[in-house]
Symmetry: C2
Subunit: 397 residues, 2 copies
């Protein structure tokens, strides 16, 4: 009895792949600073937790497939604050950003059709592509210029008869790169010219530093029919376990089709939607404090990296990740070595090898993604261990 | 810019299709008894709601992709009570039963391969098939013999080179049919002979009447590698809004592949899993009371149906649905008529036309599914309106 080809081919999580080595370290009594995962350490807002505490319905019932009316209504005001002008009918609430991307792929692409994605990209896009039988065509970007988008000709060269969309992650996971308004408008113009969609994953919208301004795909004028926004509360409110996201488009035909997929799975979790709803009404100071905290951490990590000779890394403007090119041949070997052979005062550090974030074979082998989701003190220790470990690794290898 | 073929072809929910007519009735001041939907009216256990009230973590974090350890541990004891002997590693917690079925289809079937499903079947199986690019091959069953499975030759005649699994829903939605141990073992033997899987949707396991005994696919001896169980807490604990289910198999290769799909979407909702966990420890009296309540309702609905001349319906032993064949040409027209032209004391009733539950074109056009999810008093009124409405409809059409 064979399983399906897709069952055999789906990528195992490159972020979790090295976890057994971390387990081994811990069993030896070595603490591990995890810079490999994107689980924020910031407290979930009390206003959100309170919703769980106060749930008072007798029956925990199905909600509507498109999401609870009260929450979709609130989301309209959330997006209005970000100059994204939509109404309730443009929103379908999803089970996290994951489901929003799966729905976007399903409604836009037939089996075997293609979505262009700048690489390195969020590795789970590969899983979603396998689930929906579509192909990701990577648009390579480089550490040397901060993983910014290449020129129009390079992008257009990838567009073929099977290309149905360009998917952006902005700010980017794993790169932290924020695309300028000019670049977003430029991609939209290319998409319009070739009659394809742009799917924009903006789950890190608020994680943007140095006063930079975020440009949403929904800000592009005269692009309503081509623009699909996917979003999630996971990072924004440190609520990864709530599994609440949404898909947004002003393309009515697309949303009607999406609703049929949404109806098949009935609805997203009910109380979690009510909890996410409370977050819309948080004071702006909540997000401002988080921005300041992450900016401080980003500066700390970047400054530490800059003390290492021969690393390639531009200061990222967003998200809470940074991809750094190291002067070594194989970053995965280095991470395994950190976990198995190196420690300072019984502490070591773990990062995510970046190779798994590339679709082009061989790329990213000398790169790592660091997630700065530790408090300042731990992050300082982690980066010191990282720096000293790298120096030692280079000396001995 | 075209959408995908699957976006155009995915079935709109036949259960929700006639909802606009119900809206019209309500706007005219006519109350509607909803026998069309499967949302239980029973209270969610207080023990479950309490978990939401007592959540005390600071960060609502991702859980493991396979589900929380504490919950998987509890599920082992839940299944042991049902003579299903598994361990934690045989379980992956999913976002409701929907995701469990999607995962099963993805790991078992390539695009274009087939799963045999007795019809009438739960309509959302069509949506999951569209999402995963597989085909459902219907195995027709009939009201005349209570929608029981046909003989071996009829089942085997459907198995071709593209057939990878037989999927059963037991007890059945929409039929309420419970398969005997003999029939489950018979299907397993056929699957074994042809080297295919059996996916068994057992979300109504406890909804079983007249002292009948439920046979799980996991009860079949020497069938471990072929058996895949999908399950959900939605109906069992009247917790449809929690979106917690699971996929279970002792086939290690299948579970490893499923885990990779599960990792792509990160995890099911965290607090909802904790809430579902509390349900495992409910006293048996909780389920017994529900069984008694639904059995009483089933008897009420069936007795009322039996007062109608020329209906075809065998008394179902499980779930909370009944499919009845009516002496009219088009059951959908009848439901629309009930909602738009008929009422008694400003009340009418809504049921789900069964045609949408069949994959074979034309079948089920004279059948309806009734869900008995109202209390006895309301159900009595609803069935009286239904009976009188049908008599009037037959007289005037």
């Amino acid at each position: 009895m064979d399983l399906s080809k897709r069952a055999l081919e789906i990528q195992a999580s490159p972020i979790r792949k090295l976890m057994p080595y971390a387990g081994t370290a811990k069993r030896k009594g070595v603490s591990v600073y995890h810079l490999n995962i994107g689980q924020p350490d910031i407290d979930t807002p009390e206003e959100m937790i309170r919703v769980y505490h106060e749930f008072s319905e007798k029956v925990l019932a199905y909600g509507p497939s498109q999401g609870l009316d009260v929450y979709r209504h609130s989301l309209v005001s959330y997006y209005a604050k970000h100059n994204i002008n939509i109404d309730e009918s443009d929103i379908i609430v999803t089970t996290a950003g994951s489901e929003a991307i799966i729905f976007a792929m399903l409604v836009i692409c037939n089996e075997g059709e293609e979505v262009i994605v700048p690489e390195p990209f969020y590795t789970n896009y590969n899983g979603f592509a396998t689930m929906t039988s579509i192909n990701i065509k990577p648009l390579t970007t480089y550490a040397e210029n901060g993983f910014q988008l290449p020129n129009d000709a390079t992008i257009e060269a990838l567009i073929g008869p099977k290309t149905k969309a360009i998917m952006l992650c902005n700010p980017g996971n794993p790169t932290g790169t924020v695309y300028s308004q000019e670049d977003i408008f430029r991609v939209a113009a290319i998409a319009k010219k070739h009659d394809i969609f742009v799917i924009s994953d903006e789950v890190y919208r608020e994680f943007i530093y140095d006063g930079a301004v975020h440009t949403s795909i929904m800000h592009v004028p005269d692009f309503e029919d081509n623009a699909v926004l996917v979003d999630s509360v996971s990072k924004r409110y440190s609520a990864c376990g709530a599994r609440i996201g949404c898909i947004i488009s002003k393309n009515k035909t697309l949303m009607e089709a999406t609703l049929k997929f949404a109806q098949a799975r009935l609805c997203p979790p009910t109380i979690d939607q009510l909890a996410a709803n409370a977050c819309v009404y948080l004071d702006d100071s909540y997000i401002e404090a988080i921005q300041q905290e992450y900016q401080k951490r980003r500066d700390l990590v970047f400054d530490q990296l800059m003390q290492i000779p021969d690393v390639v890394c531009r200061k990222p403007e967003g998200a809470f990740y940074i991809v750094v090119k190291l002067p070594i041949a194989n970053a995965e070997d280095f991470v395994i070595w950190l976990l198995t052979e190196f420690s300072i005062d019984n502490e070591t550090v773990m990062a995510a090898p970046a190779e798994g974030f590339y679709a082009t074979p061989g790329l990213g082998r000398d790169e790592l993604r660091l997630a700065y989701i530790l408090n300042e003190q731990d992050l300082t220790k982690a980066m010191t261990i990282f720096r000293k470990g790298l120096a030692e690794y280079i000396r001995t290898h």
